[in-house]
Amino acid sequence: MPLVFTLAFRNLFYDRLRLVATIIGIVFSIVLVMIQMGLYFGFGRMVTTMIDHASADLWIMPKGTKCFEDPSLLETRERYRALAIDGVADAIPVVIGFADWRMPTGATTPVFVVGSDLRAGGLQPWNLVEGRIEALSAPKAVAVDRSYFDRLGISGLGATAEIRQQLVRVAAVTDGIRSFTTTPFVFMDVDRARAHTGVPNGKATYFLVRLDPGADRAAVRRQLLSRLSDVEVLTSAEFRERSRTFWLFSTGAGAALFAGALLGIIVGTVIVAQTLYSSTKEHLPEFATLRAIGSSSRYIYAVIVCQALLNAVIGFSIAALVGKAVVQLTAATALPIVITQGLMIGLFALTVAMCIASAIAAIVQVTRIDPAMVFSR
């Protein structure tokens, strides 16, 4: 084992209490950053879940639409104009909107209605655990997620309730389709969605465009923009980005998450810097001895940086285990924390950078060391 590593390792483990304090500081910091960033990714994924599961090459939407939940409406005649363009195979209407769900007990709760042409399969419920998609074509049929049974005051398949004084019956049950707003999604046919949300018959929120095989998406988009009035045409990726940007940045949610992450980085850096500094100070006579016996400054820096890296590796390993537990604990909640492989790699790099930056104060102290101090002790 290289002696620099041995020396760094022994210096660290010489004072176990300080080591524990340092590691707790790093773990706290990294877990904080991990959770904030995990929430960021989780939130980002939640706000685009409908876009992710829609079957569309292009989205036609009212001009100025900020996110999927935006209730602005399109004229249905625009759909027919779209269908007249070469390369457009289908333009499936989607209607969304908030409504009140009235339980058999008489209590009400808000729901978010998602209506689509179920025969065309534009935006159907997924992860079905009970019932079938076809069953949603039946009169009054809706699909809900089983995690909202209590909120909706129902017990499962076949349960009934009212939306806008109109009876609905649960014909399909999904698992894991949760809303970040905590308002339950209710899937149904597009015509019934209009009736339940008060959207006039000649209107829709989106048209999901499917292209003919081999059609040029950019060319079709240009055609759509030139022939349809007061609309925007976005790809799924663009709409996803727009929705995410709106919810994360226009609402301040993203800024709050980033601020939390930044706080974590600062706290971690300060804690590691403080402990490394005091450790170096305590070992100053040893560093002076090293200098006296002829070590280069670089050799001493290597010992300090090695200590910082050891802190980083130990701290990050524990933080990763905590993060894994947090991911499992939040998996079934309204806002699951999502930790991707990229995030883990990024966090490890951040931990290393944070620990090395923390070593700077200690290194500055060592650069001022006078090797002749070995004679005064």
Binding site: V4, T6, N11, Y14, I293, A372, V374, F375, R377
Partner: protein
């Protein structure tokens, strides 16, 4: 004629500044040759440690020149001085300055590690150096498991393992009892005479006189007297 391993000419050193300024050394000229054990003696505050620090390239003189194995230290940067120490000087300190978290072997190996000598070969050399000072059986011991005399032997092994031409020792027996002090002086004398190295020992202790080839007396920053001896106690 062979050049001296250390040559100091007209060395002066002023410490502190303003009203606290002190002339620690005033025109010291001294040379040390291989094969000699020299004692540097003088009262407290006479400039012994300052001279040792300058000869060991830890301090630079305010005036005068120092040559270590033919190389001048004039204008040398701290890293250049560290290189000179690494290549030519071994140190033995009064309070040993061993690393408490490292074994005897690793303490000695450290002097090779800073020279870039690593791996198995370094370990073998460190053990050989420990064997030379009579500690072949304590290679794995940590400083806290060793007596004062044994710790000083480890420090001597660390000083000699890199084969420096010059060994500088600051009160190496001050923390030891008489028997251990004698043992340490015999080892240092052997290093000087058998390995043809220049050994300079700063001391107050008159019990070390019999081990010296040469005694340099310093007072008030000046060398006031030198004595040479022909026959040594073994």
């Amino acid at each position: 004629m062979t050049a001296s391993l250390i040559e100091a000419k007209g060395v002066a050193k002023v410490l502190g500044s303003g009203a606290g300024k002190v002339a620690a050394l005033k025109g010291v000229t001294l040379s040390l040759d291989g094969g000699e054990l020299t004692l540097l003696m003088g009262p407290s505050g006479s400039g012994k440690t300052t001279l040792l620090s300058i000869l060991g390239c830890m301090l630079t003189p305010t005036e005068g020149t120092i040559r270590i194995c033919g190389r001048s230290t004039a204008g040398a940067e701290p890293e250049d001085l560290a290189l000179l120490r690494r290549q030519h000087v071994g140190f033995v300190f009064q309070s040993f300055h061993l690393f408490p978290t490292l074994s005897a072997t690793d303490n000695v190996r450290l002097a090779l590690d800073v020279r870039g000598e690593r791996f198995r070969k370094a370990k073998v050399r460190a053990r050989e150096a420990l064997a030379k000072v009579g500690l072949a059986h304590k290679t794995k011991a940590f400083p806290r498991q060793l007596s004062g005399g044994e710790q000083q032997r480890v420090a001597i092994a660390r000083a000699i393992v890199g084969n420096p031409s010059i060994i500088l020792a600051d009160e190496p027996t001050a923390a030891l009892d008489g028997e251990n002090g004698r043992a340490i002086m015999e080892i240092l004398g052997g290093i000087a005479r058998e390995q043809r190295r220049a050994v300079l020992i700063v001391t107050h202790d008159p019990r070390l006189l019999p081990f010296a080839d040469r005694i340099v007396h310093i007072e008030d920053g000046r060398i006031v007297r030198e004595e040479r001896y022909g026959v040594k106690q073994s």
